[in-house]
Subunit: 197 residues, 2 copies
DNA sequence: TAAAAGTCTTAAACTAGTTCATTTTTTTTC
DNA sequence: GAAAAAAAATGAACTAGTTTAAGACTTTTA
């Protein structure tokens, strides 16, 4: 029996770190919620408690906070084969400060808090999967905040294009500015400058 | 039988998350290396592979990287009762990009890579201890990089004084500038401005 | 397919923070 | 406790990025 496309994707993602039997695969799939969000809809809003950890099967979303002046700071863009959510809120059940908004119609697979605990009981291998996933997140998080340091906005823009070529063409210049940490006006100047080079 | 001061300190630190029997305490202590560093000496330098995770029993150290222009970016100050090191290098055995330098004569307890693995074998409770320690590190790390956003240098300085009153008086203005992310000259201006307020 | 809403561009005036250079003060070292 | 080294203060000239404002272009919606 075959799996539907989104399930094949998530199984391949998991297979990077652990091997599952056919039975375990079925069990895992049975614990996932299928979630669709239309472009411009929110998956999460500040003040809520994160109910799911999300795997993106299709689409694109932006994860961001609003600062005290109401400016948008984008912390990640999530596309196919990425995991997203707010782990801190998901674990501690404190309200999140994040917004997650779809920038395209998107299809996600969600692991609820209850099923997350159940998953470890039923298939202990997943302890390993999430340990590796989180450890890698931590390392890349530290690396990123260390790397961006001392680069000016042009260098950060060029580095982003190089590191995420698949994402650049799917997001607006304004959102890219929100990720890079500059105003949309300055982003516009940078782009016309870089293209002239 | 009593423990020496540094051992009492680390046992109390561990007791925040797990309970150990007398026997387990002895075993744990036996796996720790005692390390002393003089003021201005390095505990770690970029290019090396991190050999230990460190618990600070006494003293003060700064953890920093040098950027491409040779400027110092301090990522943390570690004082008594803190853990420090470079977890990424310690785990992956890749060379670190960090320097750790004592700003006072310091006494540390170190868990070596070999003893770290042994610790989990001998006292599985420590899986839980480190899971919680790392999870908290990740959450506070994300929170910190999110919080600093949109604050100007004066606000970041005031926030630092409020959050780490014990540390402010033990470090130089120059090092504080390296943590806050500004030049020592501008730090000097900020301080005279804030004191005049 | 017209109107509305959002995005992008351009430009001038501005500001937070840097750079460089010099002097004073504090700390370290022998 | 004198000499050397490092840290702190101050000021003037500079720069990367912001702000504000207005018009052109694109996308969404009804």
């Amino acid at each position: 029996m075959n799996f539907k496309e989104s399930h094949t994707l998530i199984l391949n993602n998991v297979a990077r770190f652990i091997d599952l039997t056919e039975l375990e695969k079925r069990k895992f799939i049975s614990l996932l919620a299928e979630i669709k969000v239309k472009k411009k809809a929110y998956l999460m809003q500040a003040g809520e408690i994160a109910q799911y950890e999300y795997f993106i099967a299709k689409g694109c979303l932006k994860v961001y906070t609003l600062d005290k002046d109401g400016a948008t700071h984008i912390s990640m863009f999530a596309i196919e084969d990425y995991w997203t959510g707010d782990m801190a809120s998901f674990m501690t059940k404190e309200p999140t400060r994040y917004f997650i908004k779809a920038t395209e119609n998107s299809e996600l697979l969600g692991v609820s808090r209850a099923n997350y605990d159940l998953l470890f009981q039923e298939i202990p291998k997943f302890e390993r999967f999430y340990r590796i996933l989180y450890q890698r997140s931590l390392i890349s998080y530290i690396r990123r905040s260390n790397h961006g340091i001392s680069l000016d906005a042009v260098e950060r823009y060029i580095a982003f294009k190089k590191k995420y070529p698949k994402i650049v063409n799917r997001i607006t210049q304004k959102d890219l500015a929100g990720y890079i940490g500059i105003t949309p006006e300055f982003m516009s100047k940078i782009i016309s400058k870089v293209n002239r080079m």
